[in-house]
């Protein structure tokens, strides 16, 4: 009995420890080869895309990404810098896309006269893009491709 308990204990503890044990050659992609006790040197900054060219959305509900720099843009209780250009009243001057109508809706689906407080912090959904190789290969398949595979006549994306 005691022997069986000891075996179970060993099995459980190896299982618990084994989870945090990387296989040989495995590297934490964020830290590189730096041991956990040392401080990793952060990678250099990369300039974000500043082309102002709108990108296709990967699916219909995707918040559009920001195709320009937003360095130092103030977004706090006093000021929302994004709205200097993207507000309904500003887009004629700025030629920027207006914030979506959903941003005027409260959670009950009623339209407010201005940007809804729950949509105020733009960067919760919209982010600038940096030209970097992804750490993990993406398995994402555009839904249009799936539609085309299923024989939809309106799907345009090819694999």
């Amino acid at each position: 009995m005691r022997c069986a308990l000891a075996v179970i204990f060993v099995l459980v503890s190896t299982a618990a420890l084994g989870g945090s044990h990387f296989p040989p050659g495995h590297v934490d992609r964020m830290r590189g080869m730096t041991p956990i006790t040392d401080e990793a040197t952060p990678p250099p900054f990369v300039d974000p895309d500043d082309s102002s060219v709108r990108r296709a959305r990967n699916y219909a509900m995707q918040p559009p990404v920001i195709p320009h720099k937003i360095d130092g843009y103030q977004l706090d209780t006093h000021v929302n810098r994004c709205m200097f250009c993207h507000a309904r009243t500003r887009v004629e001057d700025s030629k920027a896309p207006m914030i979506s109508v959903t941003h005027f809706m409260n959670r009950d689906g009623n339209f407010l006269a201005e940007l809804s407080p729950r949509q105020y912090f733009c960067l919760q959904c919209h982010v600038p893009q940096v030209p970097l190789a992804p750490l993990v290969e993406s398995q994402f398949v555009d839904v249009d491709v799936l539609l085309r595979r299923a024989g939809s006549p309106s799907a345009t994306l090819r694999e």
């Binding site: 102002s52 103030q74 706090d76 009243t89």
Partner: protein
Amino acid sequence: MIALLKRYWQVLRRPSTHYSLGFLTVGGFIGGVLFWGGFNTALELTNTEQFCIGCHEMRDNVYQELQPTIHFTNRSGVRAKCSDCHVPHEWTSKIARKMQASKEVWGKVFGTIDTPEKFEAMRLPLAMNEWRRLKANNSLECRNCHDFPYMDFTRQSPRARDAHSTALARGERTCIDCHVGIAHRLPDLRGLDEMIAVHGVDAVPAVLLGGAAEVAQ
């Protein structure tokens, strides 16, 4: 009073009896150089960053906000210090600004903005002072470094090119019309209407007015 002035005038008119002409001219020249040099050196001393952040009002508020911005931390190591943007470089305007700044001494003595809360409450009128000045002088302090004829649009981002080659080039807009809050945080803009009532709509940067306000003008 008139008699007193007359007496001094007589003294000034009378030829010197004790000092030689050489002493008076050379001494006057050296004295003038010392005075002028001393005056300008002291004036320049009040233009240094160390002088500005000698007070905690500047050091703990605006100086902290300046540090992460492009005008303080950047790749090329060119830095705009306080006076580069807040004091005109040309001498006459500089003296005028320095005389205005005596009000800031008053503010320091009476603690107008000596806590973060007081500073936050005063932020809009203080920012308004700067916006009004830059609107009135066509963003002169920006243009001391960023000269429009030297801009290469081909090296600018599409957004920058669109704005600079149109409204700015036509003179309809000036730097501060869009580039507000670039070195310090913007204030709570809820009091802007009162500011417009006091200073007029021309003193406010266009980007803060919003499209509707511009249509209404």
